[in-house]
């Protein structure tokens, strides 16, 4: 059965100036990702992998190239999207997971997961409990982040990314702060997400995690060298 094309990037470029020097952070990257696919982006520090992830996630505008997500052209290269437009796209299509979990320490697990609902219409407590159950943290719903282990905190961060029902989960070093046992747990969770049709794009230095992906993109000096 043919899978839906979720991400389509063509000749994406991000060029900026640092003084008199022109920096080609990302230069002519093209790739496609399908529903339920897990894509890992690897490469040395400063190679442009996080810049690429940020452009895919509408956190940054590309200098040129086109990007479509979920069948919607988000960057056409014709004009830069406004902050408001980027925000609305982020709400609708993406969930973000970071190395540092960025949970709000004064909010409980449940409140952290429901945080997007404080700012716009988002699924409520019922959906939050379903996500917590999916990630095995339902018993921790009333705990504060300070009372959780690193692995549990990353699960909460993943649950928060999932609460809006995103098409794509973008993960930047999702296991960077975790030990090997917790890394395995998170790997399993990300894999489970793909089984539900969610596309996972992650940047990682962890080769073991990267090898578990369906596709591996190696990026060096802003260009893809593998995949």
């Amino acid at each position: 059965m043919e899978k839906d094309l979720v991400i389509s990037a063509k000749d994406l470029r991000k060029i900026y100036r640092r003084g008199s020097e022109e920096v080609r952070a990302v230069y002519g990257v093209s790739f496609e990702a399908y529903a339920g696919e897990m894509v890992a982006i690897i490469g040395p520090s400063g190679s442009g992998k996080t810049t690429l992830l940020n452009m895919i996630g509408c956190l940054d505008n590309p200098s040129s190239g086109t990007l479509s997500v979920g069948g919607r052209e988000v960057f056409g290269g014709r004009k830069e999207l406004s902050e408001r437009e980027l925000t609305l796209i982020r709400r609708e299509l993406f969930g973000y997971v970071f190395q540092k979990f960025y949970l709000i320490p004064t909010l409980t697990v449940e409140e952290n997961i429901m945080l997007p609902g404080a700012f716009y219409r988002a699924p409520g407590a019922k959906a939050a409990h379903e996500v917590m159950k999916l990630l095995g943290i339902e018993r921790r719903y009333n705990h504060l982040p300070g009372e959780l282990s690193g692995g549990e905190m990353q699960r909460v961060a993943i649950a928060r990314a999932l609460i809006n029902g995103p098409k794509v989960v973008l993960a930047d070093e999702p296991t960077g702060s975790l030990d090997s046992k917790r890394t395995e747990e998170i790997k399993g969770i990300l894999r489970d997400l793909t089984r539900q049709g969610i596309t996972v794009v992650m940047v990682t230095h962890n080769l073991d995690l990267a090898r578990s992906a369906d596709r591996l993109l190696e990026i060096r000096d802003g260009k893809i060298h593998g995949g």
């Binding site: 902050e83 982020r90 320490p105 909010l107 409140e111 609902g117 700012f119």
Partner: protein
């Protein structure tokens, strides 16, 4: 889960810092409410005291009119004497409804207190004085019936101090005359509470002041031209005219001048508190830079973030302001005692009168100031770019 609960919980992150900032706001709210309450209380008290004198114009012997008026307000003795004949002259004026002559005399009583004290006796006219002071009510007994009786009526506090009741005898020190207490007044909250009233002729006879007065209270007819009466009274020899409305306005002018300075101090306290709010909230925004970036990456609009931070300021100022106004209510009597100690003249009754209007105004001012000072930190937070925030955090 809404912006308000997030804002509230954010404030609980650094409890000590939040408490100190709210404490600053509380103090400025306390100063503001207390000062406004003092201004109102003083004005009300002064109006009440002057109105309760029962007359609009006071004649005294030549001297400083304000000193004379102040002494009268404080229940003290006049400085000089004027002839009793002035009563008839004043009565001839068509504006005059009633007059009441008064003779005040102070006697040193060695048995009073530890080192002795002045006992003040106010001779009043048995016919005219009670009708000029209809608000005076008796706890026991009543007024003396004629002006030559060896009788006394004691104000509430005077009766407490002298430990006398109706029927008791009192010895006037220095002259060895005995008088009988025929009435004790209820507490009136005026200078009359501390006064010993005697018939005027009795005081003149006992203290050898026949035909002399220290004051003459004049009650003017309704709608009469007081200014015209005062102009005619100015022409009388050896007396001076004290218009109680002028005394009131002069004292209030002085109080208002002082109020400008005091409100300036309150304003400075408010500005300092607001600077504290800006500092606290801005620091909190900087500490949560990445978190705010994540919230924006999740789809929060700049206005959502602005509201969240602004709400923190509003809550901080709301809590601090409410606590400060509560404190002002609780410490009103204490503040009053302090003010009384330092003021040369303070009217009777509550000096710090904080009511709902003053509380609302002070609270509104504090919250408005807080919201104003919250604009900059909220604007800074709203401008956080998610990518920048995440990148900065990643570099740390």
């Amino acid at each position: 889960m809404n912006v308000y609960s997030i804002a509230y919980k954010n404030l609980l992150r650094k409890k000590t810092r939040t408490a100190l900032t709210a404490g600053g706001i509380m103090l400025s709210a306390w100063v503001l409410a207390t000062l406004l309450g003092f201004n109102r209380g003083y004005q009300q008290g002064l109006n009440r005291d002057i109105d309760n004198m029962g007359f609009q114009v006071l004649l005294t012997a030549k001297g400083c009119p304000y000193e004379a008026a102040t002494l009268m307000l404080k229940g003290g003795t006049g400085l000089r004497y004027m002839p009793e004949a002035v009563v008839k002259t004043v009565f001839k004026n068509p504006e005059v409804e009633k007059v009441t002559p008064m003779l005040m005399h102070g006697v040193f009583d060695p048995n009073k207190g530890e080192n002795g004290a002045i006992a003040a006796y106010l001779g009043v006219d048995a016919d005219s004085f009670p009708s000029m002071k209809p608000y005076l009510e008796f706890k026991q007994g009543g007024w003396f019936k004629d002006n030559t009786a060896m009788q006394a009526v004691l104000g509430y506090e005077a009766a407490e101090l002298e430990t006398r009741e109706v029927g008791d005898k009192m010895l006037i020190p220095g002259v060895d005359k005995e008088i009988t207490v025929v009435g004790v007044l209820k507490r009136s909250g005026t200078q009359d509470d501390g006064t010993i009233f005697l018939p005027i002729t009795t005081v003149q006879n006992i203290f050898n002041r026949k035909g002399m007065l220290t004051g003459l209270g004049i009650k003017v007819k309704r709608d009469a031209d007081i200014a015209a009466l005062e102009n005619r009274l100015y022409d009388l020899p050896d007396v001076q005219v004290v218009s109680m409305s002028q005394v009131k306005s002069t004292i209030m002018n002085l109080v208002n001048s002082a109020r400008v300075i005091v409100m300036g101090i309150a304003g400075i306290a408010l500005i300092i508190a607001m600077a504290g709010v800006i500092n606290t909230i801005l620091m909190s925004v900087m500490e949560r830079y990445a978190e705010i970036g994540i919230i924006k990456s999740m789809g929060a609009m700049p206005l959502d973030v602005f509201k969240m931070i602004w709400m923190e300021t509003a809550l901080l100022c709301g809590f601090g302001g409410a606590a400060g106004i509560g404190l002002a209510f609780v410490t009103a009597r204490l503040a009053e005692a302090g003010v009384r100690y330092f003021l040369p003249f303070a009217p009777h009754g509550a000096l710090v009168a904080i009511d709902a209007r003053i509380s609302g105004f002070a609270f509104g001012l504090i919250v408005a100031g807080g919201l104003l000072s919250g604009i900059y930190p909220a604007w800074r937070a709203a401008r956080v770019r998610p990518l920048e925030a995440i990148r900065i955090e990643g570099e740390q």
